[in-house]
């Protein structure tokens, strides 16, 4: 049977990625029959109505799912298809109470036209009561209008669909997990909608182990726990995990949502010197690594041991004291992404997913490519566009060893890491960001022109 998914009007590039991931989690085949990025309506084939309910229940980006009764460029075409395709379904709803509603995308209809549209379906032999509140069945006319249809006074929509309502999505969870209502957050906490979507795309599900190496206040582990996975996390800054204690801590957040049962463990560590055993134990890794803009990108180590040997020497003397704070140094963002890919290669089970967020400039000259690793296959890239920069959610699948290109892997191992000492040298995105994404030549001339 065909089903129509009504998407919400946000994060368009995440739509198909999320729905496809949910079909994988639920373990059934889903074929996309029709979808284009310009419209929030997507027609898919699913094995059953039960499957449709399962799929949509966890979707954040969708609003609802409907049994697809027909699509047409005009209402005449739509009526012809509805009559042809669904007449054997009609007797099922003969005596049920029902209502018909209208869902306009980028358009509107005056009341008179609405009634006329509803009445054009009078060939449906439904004799049940028409109830506006809690009907047994709800039928919806979906109209997809061209851009600015109202201003341009367009006479008719581009496309129309008709469907029987089946179930709502899990979109209400965005409100439940809203950062404004969360007890403990920080400046870089991921908003609830994107965190839940990320966890969906990474295939979080009951019985699985998930890990976030840059946990902060725990937005991702909370999303994973909501989908039933056991959530682990770590951060180089233990203060972000502990918070002020009680309600104002990462654990407090889990308790706020009643998810403490799914809280694995949180610990303090640095990804470049990680205590996590290099064994294939994790089902998924998801993270929003520090870009070096709002949140500094630092790892353990002394910035310049030759210039500042006393830093190392002091550490040797007092590192066993309980209040010792190990020195940290700036690190390259691209090297960190490489480290994440290597870590994922070593710790993910076959087909386990890695999803991370990565910023890039919109200017083509300054754009950063999607990092690669021979053991990790890029599944999908979703984008969230800001003014001059974009952040991308990049998702990989851990290839089973039998599918890995061994030559590429050998080459990867001989790769030399980037050099540099200061944050700007190490991190091109940070440099471009603080230069306002101007071209390098313009930045240089501005520095020269500045009064000395």
């Amino acid at each position: 049977m065909e089903y129509l998914i009504r998407f919400s009007q946000s994060h368009e590039t995440f739509r198909v990625a999320e729905i496809q991931a949910l079909a994988i989690v639920a373990g059934f085949n889903m074929e996309i029959i029709h979808y284009d990025a310009e419209s929030p309506f997507c027609v898919v084939r699913l094995p059953s109505e039960e499957a449709a309910r399962t799929l949509i229940k966890r979707s954040i980006i969708a609003q609802s799912i409907h049994e697809h009764w027909g699509t047409g460029g005009t209402f005449d075409e739509l009526h012809a298809e509805v009559k042809k395709k669904t007449s054997e379904l009609w007797p099922k709803y003969k005596t049920a109470s029902f209502k018909i509603s209208l869902d306009n995308y980028q358009g509107t209809r005056p009341n008179k036209q609405r009634v006329a549209l509803f009445n054009s379906f009078s060939y449906l032999p439904f004799s049940g009561e028409i109830k506006m509140k809690d009907p047994d069945e709800e039928f919806t006319i979906f109209e997809q209008w061209d851009f600015k249809a109202v201003e341009r006074n367009l006479p008719a929509p581009l496309k129309v669909h008709f469907g029987r309502y089946i179930a709502p999505s899990g979109r209400d969870l965005c409100l439940k997990f809203d950062l404004k209502k969360r007890g403990y957050i920080s400046t870089t906490s991921m908003d609830s909608e994107l965190a839940l979507i990320t966890a969906n795309i990474a295939l979080a599900a009951p019985g699985k182990l998930f890990y976030d190496p840059f946990v902060g206040t725990g937005s991702f582990p909370i999303a994973c726990a909501q989908w039933g996975a056991l959530a682990f996390g770590s951060d180089i800054d233990g203060r972000s995990i502990r918070g002020e204690g009680k309600k104002k801590s990462l654990k407090g957040n889990f308790e706020q949502y009643g998810l403490q049962q799914m809280l694995g463990d949180m610990f303090v560590c640095d990804l470049t010197n990680s205590p996590v055993r290099r064994r294939r134990i994790l089902d998924g890794i998801l993270c929003d690594p520090p870009y070096g803009v709002r949140e500094g990108l630092k790892v353990l180590g002394c910035r310049d041991p030759e210039k500042e040997p006393w830093v190392v020497e002091k550490g040797k003397l007092i590192y066993k004291e309980p209040d010792f704070i190990p020195p940290k140094k700036p690190y390259s963002f691209l090297a960190m992404l490489d480290d994440i890919l290597q870590f994922a290669t070593d710790t993910l089970v076959d087909n386990g997913r890695l999803s991370f967020w990565m910023p890039t400039a919109n200017d083509e000259q300054q754009e950063m490519g999607v990092p690669t690793h021979p053991c990790m296959e890029n599944v999908v890239v979703c984008t969230q566009v800001f003014n001059k920069w974009t952040r991308r959610l990049i998702t990989y699948r851990r290839l089973p060893d039998s599918e890995v290109d061994s030559e590429a892997l050998a080459q990867k191992r001989s790769h030399v890491p980037t050099n540099g000492v200061t944050a700007d040298e190490l991190n091109p995105f940070r440099r471009h960001y603080f230069n306002g994404f101007r071209a390098q030549a313009a930045v240089d001339s501005a520095i020269e022109a500045a009064p000395k």
């Binding site: 019985g207 049962q261 560590c269 205590p275 294939r280 190392v312 590192y319």
Partner: protein, 127 residues
């Protein structure tokens, strides 16, 4: 820190990674608490192939738990035997080290655990 996590962690010092003595980390002066967590058979069955059984046996003995059988239970055995599930659940999921230290058997470095959160940060000369 759960006993489960201890099974997934080793010494953070790079030079120790190749040594078998660095795993598992040995709890020292550990204060244990029992959390109340609902039994999740699906999770335990999924976990079994990822658990290093001999390391878990070592940890259990060091913490004063009764000795574990020599061989890990198979998924079928686990699903059939509720007592086995409960014992394992109690050890892996419900037992937490709240305060104490984790010691590497190779380099002797001690990682502190405070309020259930272990600290694996290293001073510059060990990085």
């Amino acid at each position: 820190m759960k006993i489960l996590s201890l099974n997934f962690l080793t010494c953070a010092v790079k030079a120790c990674k190749s040594s078998s003595a660095s795993y598992p980390l040995h709890p020292k002066d550990a204060e244990l608490v029992q959390d109340d967590i609902e039994l999740n058979p699906q999770l335990l069955v999924n976990l079994m192939p990822r658990i290093d059984w001999s390391a878990l046996s070592t940890t259990a003995t060091e913490l004063g738990f009764p000795a574990l059988p020599a061989q890990p239970p198979t998924p079928e055995e686990l699903e059939a035997d509720e007592q086995k599930l409960k014992d394992l659940h109690n050890l892996l999921m419900q037992t937490q080290i709240m305060e104490g230290k984790l010691v590497c058997g190779n380099c002797g470095h001690e990682y502190a655990v405070r309020e259930g959160i272990a600290n694996f940060l290293l001073p510059s000369h060990l990085v």
